[in-house]
Symmetry: C2
Subunit: 415 residues, 2 copies
């Protein structure tokens, strides 16, 4: 059985090296299926590289080579990855990918293509890096109804927030430090604005609940607006601010199943397992009817963890070459993803008021009761509080009617 890798970059080259390093044990674990790395597709040449002779530039060589049964896609993005992966699946080759954008945007179509040809489309590395999460979830699903998932899904933003929480840094400085350490890209948009976390929660929600959740439908907020003042108020409340991807199954009034899916900063109580997840680590919490809360924790990114997850999928492919893996999801109907404003939450609010005493009195009257927060060094006129629970739409309408200027509004969770 030959294997081809599409994209000889950061992840692809680590997969190639893991292949060589663990050749014997991989053979043992793939039930004696001999796996040979045959092609490395890349636009560049790699003169002097140990795998120089495997580098090719023409995708069709791989597509038309019937000896290639497993294709690893580590190109990233959609432009090449999507048509290449689709073509491979249609040609009856199993595909393993680490590409979260591909799975989040095109998963439902690619899974169907795999099913039609009775081959595998596996993507353990697309969420949580080296943390085994996709397969454990399918295992949990076997005997559980899963109703809720919440995760710290992006290591870059978690590093930034950790710097802000533990060292009192401002966002800009923490971002600069993350870039210095190689944890953040020169253009950090995909991370700090929540798009990366959004793709991952879409994959998890699609998998857990069985119906496709498209990133375009998910309300997504990043962490650019978080300030040291918010971090201090969160501490006085008894918790920390984390960027969470969250998905919860619900039912709308006409009993049609819906999901609430959301990405954004959230207040997490310090006794939560998610509160202690620091630096570039990721964690995913799964809530099931029989198992209760289960949490998976580890390095969510990085060359080696990701490559090890890819390799585990390759071995799984080799073991179940023409046995359909029993997971995937279907298209969802319009309206399946609920409007986030209809979900129940409590809100943390930091605001400025010309007359703080009057504003607080008005807020207390409007909300019934409030949890007032305080911090050292608060400027004149600053007010911070946590509202009672209600639909976000109702809470925001009440806030907008108050005589105060909202500086920061963050959802409060009970994970």
């Amino acid at each position: 059985m030959n294997v081809a890798i599409l994209g000889y970059g950061n992840i692809g080259s680590a997969v190639a090296r893991l292949f060589a390093k663990n050749h014997e044990s991989i053979r043992a674990r793939s039930m004696q299926t001999e796996l040979e790395l045959k092609y490395l597709l890349d636009v560049r040449d790699y003169p002097g590289d140990e795998y120089e002779q495997l580098i090719i530039h023409d995708f069709d060589t791989i597509l038309n080579d019937e000896s290639v049964g497993i294709v690893v896609e580590t190109i990233g993005g959609l432009k090449y990855a999507y048509p290449y992966v689709l073509a491979c699946l249609k040609a009856g080759k199993s595909v393993v990918t680490s590409n979260k954008e591909l799975v989040a945007e095109k998963g439902v179509e690619l899974l169907r293509a795999a099913q039609e040809k009775n081959v595998n489309f596996l993507f353990e590395a697309s969420v949580g890096g080296g943390i085994p999460i996709i397969r454990p979830i399918t295992q949990c699903l076997a005997a559980n109804e899963l109703d809720e998932i919440a995760g710290i899904l992006n290591g870059t933003t978690n590093f930034i927030l950790t710097c802000m929480i533990q060292d009192g840094m401002r966002f800009d400085d923490a971002l600069a430090l993350a870039q210095q350490n190689g944890y953040a890209e020169p253009d950090p948009t995909a991370d700090v604005d929540g798009h990366d976390a959004c793709r991952k929660i879409c994959i998890l929600a699609s998998l857990c609940f069985g119906k496709n959740v498209s990133p375009a439908l998910v309300h997504t907020e990043g962490i650019r607006g978080i300030t040291p003042a918010d971090v201090a108020y969160a501490a006085s409340w008894g918790g920390v601010i984390k960027l969470l991807g969250r998905a919860k199954r619900t039912a709308s009034e006409d009993t049609r199943e819906q999901v609430n899916v959301l990405v954004g900063p959230a207040l997490v109580g310090s006794r939560s397992q998610l509160a202690g997840v620091n630096d570039v680590f990721n964690a995913i919490l799964v809530r099931g009817d029989a198992i209760g809360d289960v949490l998976f924790y580890g390095r969510g990114a990085g060359q080696l963890p990701t490559a090890s997850a890819v390799m585990a999928d390759v071995i799984d492919c080799a073991k179940h070459l023409h046995a359909k893996r029993n997971f995937g999801w279907e298209e969802s109907r319009d309206g399946y993803v609920a409007d986030y404003l209809d979900a129940e939450t409590a809100l943390y609010v930091r605001s400025l008021a010309e007359n703080p005493k009057d504003a607080l009195a008005a807020a207390e009257q409007s909300f019934g009761s409030l949890q007032i927060l305080s911090r050292e060094g608060a400027p004149q006129g600053e007010i911070a509080f946590v509202t009672p629970t209600g639909t976000e739409r109702m809470l925001r309408a009440k806030l907008d009617a108050l005589p105060l200027k909202q500086e920061s509004v963050i959802r409060v969770t009970d994970y």
Copy 2:
């Protein structure tokens, strides 16, 4: 495909109910294999029970019924479970068990019997209750060398320690509360003396490193000796006391592979993910060369979580009826489990001295340097400190030579 359950107690009855509740989804997930519950073996009758008509008392009925392809063992202990499970495997039936004693004591023999008949012997529920851990570890293993595992593996002792840490309770009172809550047995020996955790770390060590680790060879300490004074000193050191099962691969001087396996209370720094695992929750940390640290967290016991893990195994059996699952372990040679006194560690010591000043001076001279700890309300003559790292044998020899009475000695970890 018919299924029989041996032992209609706490776990067995929950498995039966899960069977009925999720009948449709289980069929879908077991690739359309129709699973029917046919027998419930128990010594008792259950008049009026919803499964009354499935109750039988004669094991041979199950053994000789060729329509029974999967047997669930939830009797517990070895007396009946061991011969029944062995007979089932030898008769070509797959077996799923939640019985950690059976797997820890007889796993190597039962896995071999399963292999010979090309059937499955699965035991996800034997460690960590509902937390998926056995299969994720085998998945991690596919592309990683795993070198170390550490876990909070017993919910009862973790509940007791949490009461001592958070509420300042004494051991006896915390144990009584655990018994009131149904978390501890009337005879709590298996939990509080570490035997339950020992069986689980033996299963994990055998699985991760591929060679059998027998509970009889593992140095095991419980938590009866932990006092509020130790809890207070641990806090002043910057951590908490947890009962850990630990296993680490090492090499002896003659380069033959060895493992350090140990169960006992340990000081864990408060930034460790293990430190925040409270109440009856369990967590298992796995350290691999490519993935780094991965942690699995959830309810380690309880009827429903355990039954859901059993059910997931049953479904896996149905999907891979005559495909060998690719995990297990071999017999180990004598000397494979290293003497715990030869492992490197640091030690926390609480002691009494007639002349504290002289005793501390002698200790500092003997160890080179010490981290001296203090607490409020310490009685006259009490000394507490953390030693530098060294072999436990060397550290204890030095301690024994000091002019002080050792009240408590606890290992310090770096997880």
